[in-house]
């Protein structure tokens, strides 16, 4: 082969696939005749491979919330329903808990994590798992809402309703069936606003031991857990938990809208 020794940049360009096919073939031929240089080229290729593998596990990690939120524009101006909800809360005063209008205002202390009903912990876990999901956030999409409701109602054993939260700025993404801690069927509905913020509503049918309430009063309880904050309430045999990375006031407005529609 008449080719001269390839210079250093040519060797790198060959490793990086930057050479035209004819030139690359010449270099490959020359390397096949010079095992010492071929070994050096192989070492460069190995270095590339080790760089591509470095911290590759980060590619599979869920995106931290603070990074998802970095894409959010400044919060929109509050619309009328939110302002009303905030007014209601202020009138109840801080630290009183968040009772519901004419129903007895439940002056419950903020529940510690350990005292949370099991279904609320399930809801928080399900929220954390599925909200960052980009490709498969739901099992059945909102386009098949009739099927979704019929299917989940059948599995939970009660007739479910899917609240409409368009007035609060959230549209339904869809829902999924989930296992409760003791193997019960649970339902999760996911909503999203135009900015991509997601809200989940977790619905569970409770037994007496699970904390099913015999009768009203219904009260909203706040769960201020770092990973998923939200409100939960128990209405008869059904437990509901609303979770989102939203300010308490907006979550309250969502919880109230959901409660009113399900009542």
């Amino acid at each position: 082969m008449s080719m001269n020794r390839p210079d250093e940049t040519t060797l790198h360009a060959w490793v990086d696939g930057e050479l035209a096919p004819g030139r690359a073939a010449e270099v490959a031929q020359w390397l096949s005749e010079h095992p010492g240089e071929a070994a050096r080229a192989a070492a460069l290729q190995a270095q590339c491979a080790s760089l591509r593998a470095l911290h590759a596990q980060v590619l599979d990690e869920p995106v931290p919330r603070r990074l998802r939120q970095a894409l959010r524009r400044p919060p929109l101006q509050w619309h009328w329903p939110h302002a009303l909800a905030a007014g209601v809360m202020l009138s109840l005063g801080l630290g009183l808990g968040y009772g519901l209008g004419s129903r007895a205002p439940g002056a419950w202390p903020q529940a510690a994590q350990a005292q949370l009903p099991v279904f609320v912990r399930e809801a928080a876990a399900a929220h954390a798992v599925y909200v960052p999901e980009q490709r498969h956030p739901v099992e059945v999409a909102a386009q098949q809402q009739a099927h979704l409701v019929q299917w989940l109602s059948k599995r939970l054993g009660v007739q479910l309703k899917v609240p409409v939260l368009e007035a609060q700025g959230f549209h339904l993404v869809g829902g999924r069936l989930l296992p409760g801690e003791a193997g019960q069927a649970r339902a999760q509905f996911m909503y999203q606003d135009p900015a991509g913020e997601r809200v989940t509503l977790y619905v569970s049918v409770l037994s007496r031991e699970d904390g099913a309430a015999a009768a009203p009063p219904v009260a909203f309880h706040w769960t201020g857990d770092e990973s998923a904050q939200g409100f939960y309430w128990i209405d008869g045999r059904q437990g509901y938990a609303v979770s989102a990375a939203l300010p308490r006031e907006r979550l309250y407005a969502l919880a109230e809208a959901i409660y009113r529609q399900l009542d």
Binding site: E37, L44, E61, A70, A195, G196
Partner: protein, 175 residues
């Protein structure tokens, strides 16, 4: 195009930043700054004309990496006095101010000892597999500079990993 299109690129940005700065928390800080910059500048982002969906995504990723590079460059220019390795474009590939460390280092540690300019070129070409031309465009440097920085970065990295003394004689023979 909505800014939510950026979300799918975050894992890749996180990994690139992680290797670039070497520390998980500082890497996510850099990603966060990049995403905030992307929000501010979103109106300026234009997908290439007549591009396929894949090409649009590739262009968007390149745009984000360019934003990250600009932020990163500002950071290390401000911290220039604390830089661990001096960088002089006029020195040949055999010059290695880290050669007397005499330690065998792991890959991430060795990378953080490279000059930031060299690290960026190496990661964009070897890890992210951008062409020399794309790398030159993102970093706003001539393609010849990409090639010379790349060769030196690889050589420095190899020696840091081996922990041996610089083998200038071998290098002379290659040139």
């Amino acid at each position: 195009m909505d800014i939510d299109a950026v979300i799918v690129h975050i894992p890749r940005l996180r990994r690139y930043a992680r290797v670039l700065v070497g520390d998980a928390a500082r890497a996510d800080d850099l990603v966060q700054d990049t995403l905030e910059r992307a929000c501010q500048k979103w109106a300026l982002w234009r997908p290439p004309d007549a591009a396929s969906a894949d090409q649009v995504q590739a262009a968007l990723r390149g745009w984000l990496l360019t934003l990250m590079h600009n932020l990163f460059a500002n950071q290390w220019q401000q911290a220039a006095r604390r830089r661990m390795v001096d960088w002089d474009e006029t020195l040949g590939p055999a010059h290695d101010p880290t050669s007397d460390l005499g330690l065998r280092l792991d890959l991430q540690h060795a990378l953080t000892l490279l000059a930031p300019q060299a690290r960026e070129v190496l990661l964009l070409v070897a890890m992210e597999q951008y062409s020399y031309a794309e790398t030159a465009r993102m970093l706003d440097i001539p393609i010849g500079t990409v090639m010379s920085r790349l060769a030196r970065a690889r050589e420095q990295l190899r020696r840091l990993m081996e922990g041996g003394a610089p083998s200038r004689a071998t290098l002379k023979a290659i040139k």
